[in-house]
């Protein structure tokens, strides 16, 4: 099953400039692992000790995975997984 992962500008040096990566997986964790398999540099940039670094936000079709099951959040065919840097200030 193919899922689209959106890569932010800051990480595209690690994806040969690609803004989107197509991988398979049924959970966010599996999807990210597949992305890391394709682009090894990404793993260290956005994860630490198996968890997402604290300034990395991941969304499945617009919904923050921290409101769902984190890396265990289910991903289906039509979903889009978006990686973004945490940034906020009203």
């Amino acid at each position: 099953m193919s899922v689209t992962v959106k890569i932010p500008t800051q990480l595209r040096a690690a994806t040969n400039g690609d803004a989107e990566v197509e991988v398979s997986g049924t959970t966010v964790g599996e999807v990210l692992d597949a992305v890391f398999d394709a682009h090894g540099d990404l793993r260290e940039r956005i994860t630490q000790d198996g968890d997402l670094r604290r300034f990395v936000n991941v969304y499945v079709s617009g919904e923050d995975i921290r409101f769902q099951q984190g890396l265990d959040t289910a991903v289906s065919e039509s979903d889009e997984v978006t990686i973004l840097p945490a940034v906020a200030g009203g």
Binding site: Q10, F55, P85, A86, V87, A88, G90
Partner: protein
């Protein structure tokens, strides 16, 4: 030259001074790095005192090589001694209110936006934009108008009417997003990748955040070049809280002020308290929340600088507390009744937390406490509605006398 580079707060990697905000190596937030070693404290002090009547008097500590043109300069807002408020709270302390509602668009956001818009112009942007809970919207629209730039302001569609009106009047492209602030923020982060715009709190965030330091500089200068013992400050994203601390530290390092760094007390609304919760639970990260509070200007459920705010509160021996909607309304009323300052809901949160600190005896006798009031009450009138009773009478003396007790004329 003092301003040097952008530096990752997490891993220390440095970058050129461009429109970027996240580290490519670890995704940590970027911050402006300076080299102040060439500055002479006495000379800097003279320059400040001979400077403009606003934030640009502190240009040595802002991310520019010279003083930018700014037709709408914010800053130098009143620092007011609040003896009657201290008395009502049973505090034997030297209590000061920094009334930052007294800025061009009536909130502290004028400080950060003035810096961001000046940087946007320097970098050649023609359009500025932001994700906002309201106050930032007002400030971006106004400063863009003053600078002759186009602007796009994205806010949650359910914002207070006053804040929408006080944004739209400046001729901005006002966009109401059906979602909460965190949804708006995510959308802006995505737009920042596809539009050639300066999003003041996304791709210009490192510069924008520097504006908050001026609140610390002004406080120290207005206290006669001394530090307060304690500050009480609202927390939304956590940026203001941590930058005020950085401002005090920079001046201490340079020798402009001396002594211990202040204790930092943070204030959040119970209905959106991810930073207060992380503090209470001893967490290193903030678990995001779905906001449900009348303090909409503080309703950031996923605060990017939250972890740093928690660290700052801990390191300084302070705390981060939260108050409920009733305490927020009571805080607005208490400040108005004792100081004549009418603040918005965020100020109600801050005064509510001050009252909480007073009640639990956290503030020692003789302490010099500065409370940051960051916004204007006229922007959140709903919070005051139905909290008072008007005496309606006929236009004659009898009608008045029957409503109020008779008093003899003595003067």
């Amino acid at each position: 030259m003092a301003v040097e580079s952008l530096k990752c707060k997490e891993c220390g990697e440095t970058y050129e001074l461009g429109a970027s905000y996240a580290c490519e190596r670890c995704f940590g937030p970027l911050e402006v790095g300076y080299d102040h070693s060439g500055l002479d404290a006495a000379e800097v002090k003279r320059r400040i005192q001979a400077g403009s009547q606003g934030i640009w008097r502190y240009a040595d500590f802002l991310p520019f090589t010279g003083r930018p043109q700014d037709p709408l300069e914010p800053g130098l807002t009143p620092l007011v001694k609040a003896d009657r408020l201290a008395e009502r709270l049973g505090l034997d302390a030297e209590l000061w209110i920094k009334n930052d509602a007294a800025n061009p668009t009536h909130s502290f956001k004028d400080r950060v936006v003035a810096v961001a818009v000046a940087k946007a112009q320097e970098l050649g942007f023609k359009t500025v934009a932001c994700a906002s809970t309201g106050n930032l919207a007002n400030a971006v629209a106004a400063h863009a108008a003053a600078a002759g730039l186009d602007s796009y302001v994205l806010v949650p569609a359910n914002l207070e009417e006053q804040k929408l009106l006080a944004t739209a009047v400046y001729g901005t492209n006002l966009v109401g997003v059906r979602g909460n602030y965190d949804d708006v923020n995510r959308l802006c982060t995505q737009l920042a990748e596809t539009r050639p715009w300066a999003f003041v709190n996304v791709n210009l965030r490192p510069y924008y955040a520097e504006g908050s330091k001026t609140l610390a500089y002004e406080t120290a200068e207005q206290l006669g070049w001394e530090l307060p013992d304690r500050v009480v400050c609202p927390i939304a994203s956590g940026s203001l809280f941590t930058k005020v601390a950085r401002g005090f530290q920079e001046w201490t390092d340079l020798g402009l002020v001396a002594g211990e760094q202040p204790v930092f007390n943070g204030a959040q609304a119970q209905g959106c308290s991810p930073v207060a919760t992380a503090f209470a639970e001893g967490w290193e990260v903030c678990k995001p929340q779905k906001p449900e509070t009348i303090a909409k200007s503080l309703a950031i459920g996923d605060p990017a600088d939250g972890p740093y705010a928690v660290e700052q509160a801990r390191r300084s021996g302070g705390a981060i507390d939260s108050v409920d909607d009733e305490e927020i309304r009571a805080g607005i009323r208490l400040l108005a009744e004792t100081t004549g300052i009418f603040t918005e809901t965020a100020g109600g949160v801050t005064i509510g937390v001050l009252a909480k600190l007073a009640e639990r005896g956290a503030i020692a006798a003789g302490e010099r406490v500065v409370v940051y009031i960051t916004g204007e009450g006229l922007k959140t009138l709903d919070a005051t509605r139905d909290s008072f009773q008007m005496h309606e009478i006929d236009p004659d003396l009898d009608s008045f006398e029957s409503e109020f007790d008779h008093q003899e004329v003595t003067v």
